[in-house]
Amino acid sequence: MPGEVWVYAECRSGRLMDVSIELIGGGRRIADKIKAQLASIILTDNVGYLANDLISYGVDKVYTVEHPLLKLYQSDLYTDIICKAVLQYSPEILLIGATSIGMDLAPRVAARLKTGLSAHVVGLDVDEYGVLKQIVPGFGGGVMAVVTCPKAKPQMATVRPGVLAKPEKTIRRGEIISIKAEISEEMIKARTLEIIEEKPLGKPLEEAEIVVGVGLGGCKPDTFNLIKELAETLGAAIGGTRPAVDEGYIKEDQMIGQSGKTVRPKIHIALGASGAMQYMVGVMDSKTIIAVNKDPNAPIFKMCDVGIVGDLNDVLPRLIEEIKKLRKN
């Protein structure tokens, strides 16, 4: 039987990060394919119900490490514990969520274990030999590469949030193995003193289910008012292109794309955006893309699901009407 598939369960303030739950879904699929066990490893000051939650999401085993010093992420301690656990249990694969902490932790772990690590994975599969195929973006998303780690173990990857599907909780059995943490304060050389949260006003773009993107074509006062009305009707967050920021219609932190945010909403509505690659890389993972543009040759029409050719000032009022009608029914 091959070694286990491990997924790192990141928790902050006693809550499991969404990506860690998504990893269980993906990890389950991979573990089943290579007929291995799926395990989670969690480091915290208080496990509480978290281990049981992890099992109900689909893992067969949970390795828990509980210690007061682990309350906040401490890279020296977390790296030490995970590496020692890996050396002890020899998992085949280790998946970590590509959060800011995951990206701080995973490379160090991989270096200590002298194994391969790929970053921001957007696609994951495993072949019959148990070789993990990791699809990673490069050059701002314009190029994709398939990366493998043929010899070194464990095969490691950091997976982007929103790529794997979150599994549902079910009633399952699993094993909880508690690992003793042999750690001390002296080991900490980079000490996290505190964590300060800064929740943004309104719904952050990355969490919105519907995102409206404003392009240069929407940068006129009356047109923008219509766009705002559409967003309000749909309860959508507003983002946009670099030109829209330059024109002053949206703020810098609403910018989507290569040098801005990446969004993965259910619906993305691009209004007056031509479809330049620098913008599209930020919305490519949307489930459905709707585009409105008056230029029939705009590149975005080759990158959307449903497109409407027309002037925003004509299309938007009718669109808003239709949506309101649907809502009523």
Binding site: S274, K294, D295, P296, N297
Partner: protein, 382 residues
């Protein structure tokens, strides 16, 4: 003439510095400059801090000594965003050049280090209401009084007059071509009065105006060269720094025309397709491209000659003549490409045309350029 058209790493880095400065710091101010006609003095200061004023001053006097090709690269990149600010810089260099070319060792040591740092900025005041091309007709006088010369007169169309603290002045010490002398007036000299600010329709934000001199006492030691050398000093400066500078600014305009034309024609849809697919527009684009390549080659060729130490008055004149005509031509074509939008104040094409027009009589009129080139043309009769 085997040519190597590659820029050196220093020249590339300098170009990058100018591009970054122009795109980051200058671009946000361009509209304001055009609307108000005000000079952004903090940008002038920034240019001096970045050392753009030190480019042609030799190293031994605190300058960068990077040469004329480097100078053109900087002027081009700044002009691409703001021809007005680029022209301001080129005149900063012009103000230094009489000292660089004809200054005594003492004068160089006295002024060049301060000029390199941008602490001293000098005008080059030649033109008067009586004429610019007719330089022998100037009326400003410099009367010798013991250890001093006393200057009286009035100059006009002087660039940077209100932001300079020194003035290089051409004045009459006698009659005829040998009757002109060139003086450097130091900061805080009494009697120096920058006058009316001129309200130009292009290169707005470039400070030009009158300079009034009322009994200005200038020490003998501030004369560049000797009595009677003035014409040579002024014309050398204008030919070697002034004209190439206009060239560099015009090149920036032509390049911007090409960029805007290409961008717009790919975006603008008429008859269901981008206008870049319409033959009439394609011809404009090709013509602008030819003008760009020719202007670029002429400009850098003349700069290369200068860096080699060769006399290149004809080439400098040819460059200025061609580049300014090209700038006007290309800007006019750009307006045609933009159609009605081309003459809207908020959009760039009309501003490029206005800027290009003002360049026409800078550093000598187009007609004077022809006279300069004529001498070279006639040499081929042998």
């Amino acid at each position: 003439m085997p040519f190597d058209f590659t820029f050196t790493p220093e020249q590339e880095m300098l170009r990058k510095a100018a591009t970054d400065f122009a795109e980051r710091d200058v671009a946000p101010r361009v509209e304001w400059m055009d609307e108000t006609g005000e000079t952004p003095t903090e940008l002038v200061r920034k240019m001096m801090e970045l050392g753009f004023g030190a480019i042609v001053i030799p190293r031994e006097y605190g300058g960068a000594g990077l040469g004329h090709i480097a100078r053109i690269a900087v002027l081009e990149e700044i002009s691409r965003i703001s021809p007005a600010l680029s022209f301001c810089l080129q005149i900063v260099h012009l103000g230094q050049s009489p000292v660089i070319y004809f200054g005594s060792e003492e004068q160089k040591k006295k002024w060049l280090p301060g000029m390199a740092k941008g602490e001293l900025i000098a005008t080059c005041a030649v033109t008067e209401p009586t004429g610019g091309s007719d330089v022998l007709g100037i009326q400003t006088t410099a009367k010798r009084e013991g250890e001093y010369y006393v200057l009286n007169g009035r100059k006009c169309f002087i660039t940077n007059v209100h932001i300079s603290n020194m003035h290089g002045v051409l004045a009459k010490t006698g009659e005829g071509p040998k009757g002109l002398s060139f003086f450097m007036i130091e900061p805080n000299t009494p009697g120096v009065k920058p006058g009316r600010r001129e309200n130009k329709d292009g290169l707005r934000g470039l400070n030009t105006g009158e300079l009034i001199l009322e009994n200005v006492k200038v020490p003998r030691g501030n004369m560049i060269g000797g009595e009677g050398d003035g014409l040579r000093v002024a014309l050398t400066a204008i030919s070697n720094i002034g004209r190439p500078g206009v060239n560099g600014v015009a090149l920036g305009i032509v390049r911007r025309c090409l960029e805007e034309a290409a961008k717009y024609s790919k975006q603008r849809i008429l008859y269901g397709k981008p206008i870049s697919e319409l033959q009439a527009i394609q011809w404009y684009l090709a013509e602008i491209y030819v003008d760009y390549e020719t202007t670029r080659l002429l400009t850098y060729y003349a700069a290369w000659l200068r860096d080699k130490g060769a006399r290149c008055d004809a080439e400098n004149a040819a460059g200025k003549y061609y580049s300014v005509e090209a700038a006007v031509r290309c800007a006019h074509k750009l307006i045609q490409i933009f159609g009605g939008y081309g003459v809207m104040r908020e959009i760039i094409p009309q501003r490029l045309l206005r800027d290009a027009e003002v360049l026409c009589s800078a550093a000598g009129t187009q007609e004077i350029m022809k006279l300069v080139m004529l001498r070279k043309a006639l040499e081929y009769s042998k």
